[in-house]
Symmetry: C2
Subunit: 348 residues, 2 copies
DNA sequence: ATGAAAGCGCTAACAT
DNA sequence: ATGTTAGCGCTTTCAT
């Protein structure tokens, strides 16, 4: 089946040359060719020149797959993602691929739509012998985590907990972010405070909400209303806000949304459909600080996740784990920042 | 360097088992194990059972890298991307990875920031022996295209021309899209019509602009003003609109922007900073139809690229090319649709 | 500095 | 149906 053409006879198509071909043409051993491509391979200038001439003449290109087989290392990192269209995650992936490339790694993307799909995707990643895994928007079952550990593949969970005992973790302090928002809203004098949740099962949602609600309570406030978008997207945020604001109960004077997309949906519903004045009649605060949050049409107050730091840290942790497979589980927490903009009232 | 543990002795960490290990445990030949993992491999139920028992006991997982080496096929598609953060492209990548996975392929992402970087990224893709390449947001030099052809790696250029004689092409009819906008604006009675360009060197920009301007001229109109954002993003669009609308010359009454992000930047500048009424005083039309274009805060009239069709077609073309490497260059053109929304006046 | 040879884990052709 | 054998293209000893 492989339509492979070998040998020295000049044939025009689909010809992949190997080091044997190069060696033959250069009049050296195949090992010499290999050394010419090995950093630190000891080779005389003369032979190296001969090799390179032959390489150029044939248009030879090393076969990374073969190298990966013998070195038991692919220089590929598996990136498991979901919710791709959320700008926050899109930007993440962009950064991950970019920074990884700078470090000489390539990114194999595993796109999981349903929760269960990670059970298929992850074994594939292991079969491809990736050197490491970054998991965003999914949680490894402990069985999967064990398999990764057994095969010596380090895993970094990005922006979520992992209690499997093997995965490293890098995440934003979502709990603290929730607290910040509670303080901001209380300080601004709000009294009927609501929360719109994102994906209920996600640890990001749980932490943001818990931090938020606990802090409200600490300061003698209760959560007045709660609604759930179910997903982290605009449309679901819009719909959730609709349920929240048209529920018949007295309208809240502030809403904390689990992320920016939800907040923008809520904001649009409130001002475009219901004609509510933002922030005079209603404050809205999001989470992430995606680019659109800063656009003049939204001016969304939000909790910024410092994603450059998150990405760099994640990759650093992964690289450390790759080079020291025996290391203990590493956990890095990054602190978010509240970004004040026009969608919320300020302290009087 | 590879810390590999072999053999039958039960050792706990980093143990990757091979078919030899499985065979030994199952009391069959190594080839039998291979056959157990080969779709049409002939094997008795008895041996298959023995193999599977051993597989399970050891936690054996096939090594795809080794298979790729012998089969000369990786089941990996290289995806070359740029401008990741543009929602249109983010959505594309999401779709590409999803659909490719459905077909049993995995996506290796090559993120190129600078134009020149494709000269490094593409050879790497070839070294990884990808089964095919999808190029978005970049143009292959004919030298690179030749190398792909020589190595038998099919290439599909996504949303851009390729005149290299090898690359297949799937793109939206940007020229026609430009014409549609010209008609829409003229029909609505606009007389001072402007254009804000995206990345000047991109074929998408060139085609949209050419189609637009030609059609204006056909109908006896001239382009009143032209400004360039230089990039396809919001900030550059905002800045370009600022130059355009504050240039001192009489203000245009309509602007066609090379894509939605630029249009949203222009729209925000016009109404938030300059207080211009949209669309009463100024019509704005974009291109792409990203999700945000439909949000109530923007209601952006735009030319929709049917991206589901674009992606499906691209992958279909690529699959065909993979299975018939000798095929002629394929070119598929997809027609866009004008989506009317509130940011532009309608025919009176 | 260089070549010869072993072997990475697998598939596939060739026996039987 | 199953085992034997020969590679795939490469790195890496081990000699020299």
């Amino acid at each position: 089946m492989p339509a492979k053409k070998r040998g020295t006879t000049s044939s025009s198509k689909s010809a992949d040359f190997s080091q044997v071909d190069v060696a033959r043409l250069a009049g050296v051993s195949q090992a010499a060719v290999s050394r010419a491509f090995t950093p630190g391979g000891s080779l005389s200038d003369d032979t190296r020149a001969k090799v390179m001439a032959a390489v150029k003449q044939l248009g030879y290109r090393p076969n990374v797959i073969a190298r990966s087989l013998v070195q038991n290392s692919t220089n590929i990192i598996g990136l498991v993602v979901k919710r791709f269209t959320n700008p926050f995650y899109a930007q993440m992936i962009q950064e991950f691929t970019r920074v990884l490339q700078e470090q000489g790694y390539w990114t194999l993307v595993f796109n999981i739509a349903e929760k269960q799909e990670i059970e298929e995707a992850l074994p594939m990643a292991l079969q491809y012998r990736v050197d490491g895994l970054i998991i965003t928007s999914a949680t490894l079952s402990s069985k999967l985590a064990d398999e990764c550990a057994r095969s010596g593949t380090p895993v970094v969970s990005f922006n979520r907990y992992a209690t499997d005992g093997h995965s490293h973790m890098v995440y934003c302090d979502n709990f603290e972010g929730g607290r910040m928002v509670a303080d901001a809203l209380i300080d601004a004098g709000h009294t009927r405070i609501a929360y719109i949740a994102g994906e209920e099962s996600s640890s990001t949602n749980r932490d943001r909400e818990t931090g938020f609600v606990r802090r409200l309570e600490e300061r003698g406030h209760a959560l007045a209303l709660r609604e759930s978008a179910g997903e982290y997207d605009y449309e679901m945020g819009y719909a959730a806000a609709e349920r929240l604001l048209l529920s018949g109960t007295p309208r809240p004077d502030a809403i904390f949304c689990a992320n920016d997309l939800i907040a923008m949906g809520a904001l649009d519903l409130a001002r475009c459909k219901l004609g509510i004045k933002i922030p005079a009649e209603l404050s809205i605060i999001g989470f992430d600080d995606i680019p659109a949050a800063g656009w003049p049409s939204y001016e969304l107050t939000t909790v910024r996740q410092p994603f450059g730091i998150l990405v760099d840290t994640t990759i650093q942790v992964l690289m450390d784990a790759i080079h020291d497979p025996e290391s203990e589980v590493i956990k890095k927490v990054v602190t978010p920042t509240l970004i004040w903009r026009g969608s919320s009232r300020r302290k009087e």
